[in-house]
């Protein structure tokens, strides 16, 4: 399990702050690719793509491996799991609902004695 220090988190955030790098991750989520394939896809020089891949590799978001003379890129240990993210978002929806339900339930048990309506935040 990769442990995170706050430095590591900053690295991951910085890696994802760039739209091209996010695009690279989306591409690699579909299939592994070589650096030159990525450079072609993103219409970039090899040097430019190596830089982006390097940043992603440093953040453990991408892993690379030399296979013969070709460097193959794939999603790294720190992969963004789509299902985990979706479930977390869904959990936040239910949490927001249940937080509001908490207030309703509280009001039902202990009705306010004054008649003014509480404004919702």
């Amino acid at each position: 399990m990769v442990q995170f220090t706050s430095g590591h988190l900053d690295t991951a955030f910085a890696a994802l702050a760039d739209p091209t790098r996010r695009g690279i991750l989306e591409r690699l989520a579909r299939a592994d690719a070589s650096i030159s394939e990525l450079a072609d896809s993103f219409r970039m020089t090899l040097t430019g793509m190596k830089k982006h891949v390097g940043v992603l590799e440093h953040a453990d978001l991408v892993a690379t491996e030399k296979v013969g003379r070709v460097r193959i890129c794939r999603l790294g240990a720190r992969r963004l799991d789509a299902e985990v993210a979706w479930i977390e978002r869904y959990r936040q929806l239910w949490e927001a609902r249940f937080d509001a339900l908490d207030r309703i339930v509280e009001d039902l048990q202990h009705p306010r004695t004054n008649m003014t309506r509480r404004t919702r935040s």
Partner: protein, 161 residues
């Protein structure tokens, strides 16, 4: 202190949501079964959804229809279905028919010492149906951007584990 909300994919076609409430079951049930109360908590402001209309006849054989609006949606969205089974203060089972592959939702309330454990299970017709529900929320570019905003949540969870 707030009780935690958990969501888990307990099987390949089921999602389970749980939470404790510091109230008896009949109170929690009232908030789920009275449309005037339901519309006060079902649409969190933080998600930008608001009710256009909220109709619910929470009895076995009854039906519901929720219509929502969202600033990003060109038209209001309707969610509707039937109540397959309603046991007051204990259980509500309903269908989600706005989608052909919608789940059957089962809410159970268990009371102990005046407090209620709530469990809501969404059973999808197949693994594919649940996979698709998740995928359509995560494969479009807009939702992918949303996922990246969630990265801090995911990283926090991993850091804590």
């Amino acid at each position: 202190m707030k009780n935690p909300t958990t969501v888990e994919r307990t099987s390949e076609r089921e999602l389970v949501v749980t939470r404790h409430f510091n109230a008896p079951a009949h109170i929690v049930f009232k908030a789920w079964s009275d449309p005037a109360l339901l519309r006060q908590w079902w649409t969190p402001p933080s998600f930008g959804i608001t009710f256009v209309s909220c109709e619910a006849d929470v009895r076995t054989g009854g039906s519901y229809r929720f219509v929502f609006s969202h600033p990003a949606a060109p038209e209001p969205m309707a969610f509707f279905g039937r109540y397959v089974e309603v046991v007051p203060n204990a259980r509500i089972v309903w269908t989600n028919e706005e989608s052909a592959d919608g789940p059957v939702s089962t809410l159970t309330l268990e009371e102990k010492d005046g407090k209620t454990h709530l469990r809501m299970c969404e059973l999808y017709p197949s693994k594919q149906a649940l996979d698709d529900a998740i995928a359509t929320g995560s494969s479009s570019t807009g939702a992918a951007a949303e996922q990246f905003e969630l990265l801090d949540q995911v990283l926090d969870m991993e850091r804590a584990s």
